[in-house]
């Protein structure tokens, strides 16, 4: 089920997605981040069948991740450009890339994230935007949120699981020094 011949076998994103499911839509987004915007660019770079590409592009447009807009009127031609929501997918791709480099690139990274000014390799790590603390488990965990329905509440823990013990050294307010 892995059409490895159709994609760049060096790409750690592709390697990750070979392991976690289908990948065309994510790879189309990756191509958009690399500068592709026209049908034939996506088609050439990915080696994807035209009917499959058409369907995936339509879905990405319908889902608000790509915007279809004309770049030529005679003849009418369209390009596909990342929306704001599509742009926000970049951290997902970078995180997948880092995971792929970590586990599926024994020969070293074929692509990597670097500081644009210095070329120094960067290593993605998740932190909490509010406090800067590294997001590790079990210090942080996923719980049911305010919009959880009964099914979600039955599957995810809620916080607090028990009545919290009052702790005078911690208040519900964030420390004034915390970055917002």
């Amino acid at each position: 089920m892995h059409n490895s011949s159709l994609i760049n076998p060096q790409c750690p994103i592709a390697r990750s997605l070979e392991r976690v499911g289908e990948w065309w839509s994510m790879l189309i987004l990756r191509e958009a981040f690399l500068g592709a915007s026209r049908f034939d660019q996506f088609q050439k770079n990915l080696g994807i069948a035209p009917n499959m590409l058409t369907r995936r592009l339509q879905t990405l447009v319908a889902d608000g991740l790509l915007e279809k807009r004309p770049y030529s009127t005679r003849p009418l031609r369209h390009e596909y450009v990342l929306t704001a929501a599509g742009q926000d997918f970049r951290p997902v791709l970078w995180t997948i890339m880092a995971w792929g480099n970590q586990h599926f690139a024994p020969e070293g990274p074929a692509i990597q994230l670097v500081d644009s000014a210095t070329g120094a390799p960067a290593e993605p790590m998740l932190v909490d935007r509010h406090t800067g603390r590294p997001l590790t488990y079990p210090a942080f965990r996923v719980v049911a949120g305010p919009a959880a329905d009964a099914r979600t509440k039955s599957r995810y823990p809620t916080w607090p699981a028990t009545t919290p013990t009052p702790n005078p050294t911690e208040s519900a307010d964030a420390p004034t020094g915390a970055a917002a």
Copy 2:
């Protein structure tokens, strides 16, 4: 192509994956992070067809993300447990979750990441592990790495793109104060 009826429609991860491709393998990993380890747990929680689940579990085991090990000998029964590489997929799921909450949860988050000690919601952000700097574009970018082959080099920029201008205030060595 979206089998929305088979998955929790509130889950922002599922909502993201509805938009970026197939999702069974990632959802199996999500279930493993939630504590599932036995075939019937995955099957019940995901509503996935048994033959599809068997195939996906075999692939995840073959790819080194899950380990299959016996938990009972009479009768022989196996469970599926996250390997170290599988555990390292957690930041990917958390990043996908954050993206889903940001864009596909207009009613608010059904699940969210919180500080286990305080319950304060956390917002994932990517930073460079070495410097702590937020990983944003275009301050950081993806370039061909040391293991890049000709095809990868033809598709990704290299750094530096041009001969660098010597800058006495910056050296190739990291500042001694930088965290390793």
